[in-house]
Amino acid sequence: MLDVFMLSRIQFAANITFHILFPTITIALCWLLLFFKLRYSRTGNEAWMAAYRFWVKIFALSFALGVVSGITMSFQFGTNWPGYMETVGNVAGPLLGYEVLTAFFLEATFLGIMLYGTKRVSNRVHTIATGLVAVGTSLSAFWILALNSWMQTPAGFEMRDGVAFPLDWMAIIFNPSMPYRVTHMLLASGLAAAFFVAGVSAYRLLRNDRSEEVRLTLKTGVYLAAMVIPLQIFVGDLHGLNTLEHQPAKIAAMEGVWHTERGAPLQLFALPNEETQSNDYSISIPRGASWILTHSGDGEIKGLNEFAGEHPPVMPVFWGFRVMVGMGMLMLLISWSCSIQLWRRDQVSPLWQRALVAMTFSGWLATLAGWYVTEIGRQPFLVYGVLKTADAVTSTASGNVLFTAVTYVLLYIVLIVAFLHTLFYLARKAVQNDVEPLATTAKEAQL
C-alpha cells in the first residue's frame, strides 16, 4: 500500500507533468503568433494572417489547459505540501505573488482581446495585445523558474527556528542556477514550439495541403529549430557545469558515477544498479564524463558514495538525461537537414516531412525528460539542503489522496487524448487541397 507521501508525490508529478506540456508550447508559440502578425502587417500577405488564425486556436486550447492545471498546483501546495509554505513561505510566497500580479492578469486579460477582439479593436491594438500576452507568458516563466531555481540553489536567506527569512531579494531571485535554468527553459520552449509548428505543418503538407500558409509555417518552424538547437546545446552544457558546482549529487546520478573517480567514463548505455552500487551492461567512452564536466581527461568527479542516504534515485535521473540529450541530437540532425533542403530547393522531401511529423512532440519529450532529471535529481530534498520532501507532506488520510491522485491521472489522460484528437482534427479541417499556391514575393522568400 502506498503511503500519503508517495501518493502525494505521484499526484504532484502527474499534475506538473501534464501542466508543463502546455506552457512549453505557449511561451514560444505566442512569440511566433506575434511574428506572424507582424509579417502580415508588414507584407499584407493574407497567408500570414491565415497562419495566425490557425495557430491562435491551438494556442487558446493549450493556454486553457495550462491555466486550469496551473491553478490546481497552487492549491496543492496547501493541500498536499503544507510544510513547504510553512518552512519557506517567506521566500516562495512573494515570488509566486509577483507571478500572479505581473504575469497572470496580463496574459489572461489581453488573451480575450487577442482571441476575440479583431472586430472591436484596430489591427495595431490587436498586435499589441498579442505582444502583451507573449510578454506575460515569458514573465510567468521567469518568476516560476526563479522560484524553482531557488529551490535547487537556495541563496539570500537565513533560517530562524526552522523557518526561512529573506535577507536579500536580489540574491534570492538571481540565485546561482537561475540565469541558466531560465535560458534553458525558454530555449526549450522555442524548440518545442518550432517542432510542434513544423510537425503539424508537415502533416498538412503530406495530406496534400496546397495553401501558402502551411509552407510559411513549415519554414518558420524548421528555421527556428535550426537556429535554437545549437544555442540550446551550448546553454545546456553551461547549465550542467553550474549543477556540478552546486548540486554534485545530481551530476553523479546523471552520469552514473557511483564512486568518486578521476577520468570518469561517459556512459552511453547502462542500467544503474542501486543494490550493487554499479552500472550493469555499461557501454562507455573512457574519460568522457571528466572531459565534458571538467574539460580535462583526468578531472575528478564526485561519486554518489559521498552523498550516502542523501542522493537521488539514480535510474530515472540517469535515463532522463540520456533521453533529453538524445532528443537534442535528433533535433539537430533533422532541423539542419530540413533547413538545407529548404535553402536549396525551397521544399522538404516527403521522407523528411514524415520525419518532421514524427518529431512533432519531440520538444515535449525532451522537456519532460529534462525536468525529471532536475526535479528527481534534487531528491530527497524539496529545497536543496534546507527541507526534505518527506518533511513537507500533509497528514491528510491516505484514502483521500489515493482518490484524488487516481482521479487526476484519469482526467489528465482523457484531456491529453482530447487535445491530440482536436489538434489533428483542426489540422485536417484546415487542409486546402484545391488552392493553387500563390507566387511568393521576393520579400517573402527571404522570410
Binding site: 490546481t72 501546495f77 510553512e86 509566486l96 489572461a108 486579460t109 484531456l415
Partner: protein, 333 residues
Amino acid sequence: MSGEAYWLPVIFIALMGLAVLIYAVLDGFDLGVGILLPMGKPDHRHTMIASIGPFWDANETWLVLAVGLLLIAFPSAHSAVLGYLYLPAFFLLLGLILRGVAFDFRAKARADYQNRWDRCFKAGSIIASLAQGYMLGIYVTGFSGGLLAVGFGLLSAVCVTAAYAFVGACWLILKAEGDLQRWAAGRAKITAILMIVGIVAVSAVNPFMSSEVFDKWFSLPQALLLLLIPFVCAILFVTLFVYLRHFPYDNDFGSWVPFASAVGIFVLCFLALAYSYFPYVVPGKLTIWEAASAPESLRFILYGAAIVLPSIIAYTIFMYRIFRGKAQALSYY
C-alpha cells in the same frame, strides 16, 4: 503590537478580501451563466457562452490572486484551510478544470461533440460553485466539524450556487437581447428568491454558531449602524423585483439595473461576513497576526502590488469597455 507588524497583515487581509469580492462577482457571473446553460436550446447556449468568452479567463485569475495572497501573507492559514478542505478543494478544481477546457474544446472539436463539451461546461460550473459554497460554509464555522457544520456547509453550497446563477442571469439581462434576455429575467427572479432564502438562513444561523459574532452584531450602539446593511440589501432586492415585474422595456431601458443590484448585494453580503470574522483568518482559531508571514516578505510584495494592482484594474476596465454592449457571436477573426 504596533507599527508594521500590526498594519501589514491588516493591509493584506484587506487586499485578499478585495480579491475574493472581485472574484465572487466576476467569476460569479460566468459560473452562473454555466449553471444556467439550457441544454435544450443550442442557440441560447452559443450566445450565452459568447457573452462570457473574452472575460472568463481573467475572471478566474482573481481566484488565483486570492489564494495566492492567502499563501503569501498567511501561509499557515493556507495550509490549515486547504488541508482541512482537502476533498472539497479537489472538487472545486475538478469543476474548474472541466469548465475551463470545455469552453475551449467546444469551439474547436467536431460539431457532434459540442453537446458533450457543453454538458461538461455546465457540470463543471455547478460542481465548482457547490464546492466553493461548501468550503465557505465549513470555513466560517471554523472547521468545528460535526453534523451541524456539514449541514451548514450544504446550505451554503446551495446558496452560493443560487447566488452565482442569480448574478449570471443579471449579466445575461445586460448582455443579451430578445428571447434569451426574457428567459434570463425569469431565471433572475427564481434565483433571487433562492438567494434571499439563503441570505436569511445564513444571517439567522451565523450569530448562533459563535457568541463572538453574536456580540459583534447585537451590541449597542453599533447595532444601529449595522442595520444599514440588511436595510440597503432589502432596497436593492425590491428595486430588482420592481424592475423585473414590467420587463422587458422599450429600447432596452435599464438593462444594467439587475446586474448593478446584484453587485450591490454581493458587496453587502461580503461586508457582513468580513465584519463578522475580522480579525480571524481562520474563524475562531487563527488571527491574521498569528498567521502572517515575515514583515520583510510582506513589504517586498506590497511595493509590487501598489504599482501593479492599479494597472491590473485599469486594463481590466479597458477590456470590459472593448467588449461592452450586447454579446456577439464569437469568432477568432
